[in-house]
Symmetry: none
Amino acid sequence: MSTTVRRAAPGPAWLGELEPRKRPSQARSHATFAAIVDACGRLLARGRYETLTTNAIAERAGVSIGTLYEYFPNRESIVAALAAESCRRLVVRMHEAVEETAGMAPHAGVEHLIEAGVEALRAPENVFTALVREAPFVLRLPPVQEAREALTDLCQDIRTRASDTVRLPEPQADTWLISQMLFNAMLEIALLDGPEARRALLQRELARLTFRMAVGCDPPGGVSE
Amino acid sequence: MSTTVRRAAPGPAWLGELEPRKRPSQARSHATFAAIVDACGRLLARGRYETLTTNAIAERAGVSIGTLYEYFPNRESIVAALAAESCRRLVVRMHEAVEETAGMAPHAGVEHLIEAGVEALRAPENVFTALVREAPFVLRLPPVQEAREALTDLCQDIRTRASDTVRLPEPQADTWLISQMLFNAMLEIALLDGPEARRALLQRELARLTFRMAVGCDPPGGVSE
Amino acid sequence: MSTTVRRAAPGPAWLGELEPRKRPSQARSHATFAAIVDACGRLLARGRYETLTTNAIAERAGVSIGTLYEYFPNRESIVAALAAESCRRLVVRMHEAVEETAGMAPHAGVEHLIEAGVEALRAPENVFTALVREAPFVLRLPPVQEAREALTDLCQDIRTRASDTVRLPEPQADTWLISQMLFNAMLEIALLDGPEARRALLQRELARLTFRMAVGCDPPGGVSE
Amino acid sequence: MSTTVRRAAPGPAWLGELEPRKRPSQARSHATFAAIVDACGRLLARGRYETLTTNAIAERAGVSIGTLYEYFPNRESIVAALAAESCRRLVVRMHEAVEETAGMAPHAGVEHLIEAGVEALRAPENVFTALVREAPFVLRLPPVQEAREALTDLCQDIRTRASDTVRLPEPQADTWLISQMLFNAMLEIALLDGPEARRALLQRELARLTFRMAVGCDPPGGVSE
DNA sequence: GATGAATGAGCATTCATTCAT
DNA sequence: CATGAATGAATGCTCATTCAT
């Protein structure tokens, strides 16, 4: 149902090997692996991507640089792993959120999805915003592309299930556009520094605009809501 | 009318000096200056930001590395100059496009704006897409921020002038959201590799969705257009 | 007893970090550290300070430039380490020489100290003269300042112990002056190219003049010695 | 009467050409020449030798870099010219001071010479101290060597004229030593930051010690002066 | 003569990555 | 398995000097 062809495993040629060298199997290995990815995230959240060095990641993770290279073939692969994990969390959360909309009115459902999305993007353990701000190439990384496709698929699902409400003349293209715009708008809201109230207002309005896009009219309750 | 406070002159502290060392005054100087910025753009369009070196820029521009540093204090400032120029072109083009919509039906106007925007973003002499893809910090650069603010202001202007058609309960916030979404969606379309037809379809649909967002219903002519 | 206030740890602000990055702990590390400092000394003994490059030091030391920067944060810190070591050797030797004067007649003691001092300053493993000739800032480096203070202190000690012979109306100031003059005169003698005999004569006469300064009359044995 | 052989004009091989390219003949040329040398002095008095660049000198002198190279063949030659001028001033002043001692008692004469010497070394228009601190290679420059020889000659003159008072068993060597020590001690005093009183004390004591060196006993008036 | 734009060899320093222990 | 000393290619940038105008 995805709109783009999924490419083969290792990623485009303009990035080297992106897969970790070894998937951690035992508990200890797993902890080391996680510590490295985590250190990378914390470093990225605080500094510029250009100052992110493998030596710094290793030190922050409390492992030797040699150990780091046991697990990852190069620097990019660590960022890729971080991005993948972050995306996985995001997709899981969005699926949960969709479940939670069961029984809600369409407009309330959209609002709930947006709220959940922004919250997930802003979660501190979720380095998504840092990643996007500092290393935009991650947006072209297979795991991230897949995540965006998964979100598009999700939108397509919703459209299918709500086909009595939704009115899209070009279902496929329109859904893709809406999903892109929603994702970017949520990201912009998540990146905003302003007060909580502003963010809440923007989320509510984003829901209204999304409803308008999908249905072609305002939700019952009128413009003044 | 801008949505963000404009900051003081020299740009954020997390980047060093961003202003060129000397503004070209004579014809010869100007040509050198332009050659450097241009070389930077061409390099950025073809390679990763991380492989962009000052020596490569100088070589490509056909000047010595010493000359490059006569005009720019550091590497970032070249990218900043490129971004500023690119943004300026984009904003100018969008203002033109707005003029051109005079007399058009609202929906046709939106479509025209989107067409012009995508075209401008894709223009080869406009390195905007390369910049966004490759240079993380560019989006946070004052000239780029100002360009985005200028585009938002433009949307606010349009809304004011079309206040009889547009129906936005939270005019300020809604316009900001629409402008963000439009900009990002146009960027996504511009970045797309697919066939021209697909891009045309997406532009048309983006116009429809934008109309829906702004007015709350489909343009005259119905869903089937 | 020192004549100047000792300053706080890291050295003056007009030079960057001067401390080595890591003090060598193991045998191998220590050898590398020493090889770098030693190479710096040999290079300085043969060429001008301005031609002393970190790459040359690394090559001469038989280590890679990267390794050099593992141990030292910058070029100055290598020269500083060299100066510190050289000073330490000098101070140690002068202390020894003072011990050796036990039981000597005062004038013979002075002569012995001067002989030892010039010899130490000329010692090929002691790059002191090269350092003074070539590296402007070295004399203002904390370790060098401390060495000069140590030598002044030494003179003050001698004065105190020989208080029955020495006749100085302004003990503190006079001793400081004598120590400065002695140090510089020994340096001038050590820097001299002439034949050994001339150096010996100058050393003998320097001892006489020093005795005159300290006691106010010629040593027993008369002017004709 | 000098103790070292005077070398041929252009200076040792380890420094390039040191002579100015053209001696200024006309008033205008002369002003330019002086402005460059002066700018060099002011820059040296305020910053480190390593930060002294020809471009900075030209800018400070208010001439173009091209003009600077019309007058001087390289950077060192500017510093050399500055040193030569500074030395010339110093030697002139010392000769004057010697004239001024006519009729003074020997000890008072020595004191006067020292006072005049320290004052000359400290004079702000005299960059001698800055030169020594920042570019010790100037001490090996022909003009400076010649100045030091001139000062030694001066001491030898004084010795000859005061041969009834002075008692030096090795007149030539002793005078050389005294002159070296005096010069260095005066330099040390001139470089001192402390209060004026301390400097005055040191000058007085230096006179006493010099008298002791030259005559072998305290001046009439006793140790307590 | 004077100018200052242009030059480019050369320097200090970084950092991803390897491999002997 | 883990370590961390060692590597060295590559980068940003400076500055003495030249030369066309």
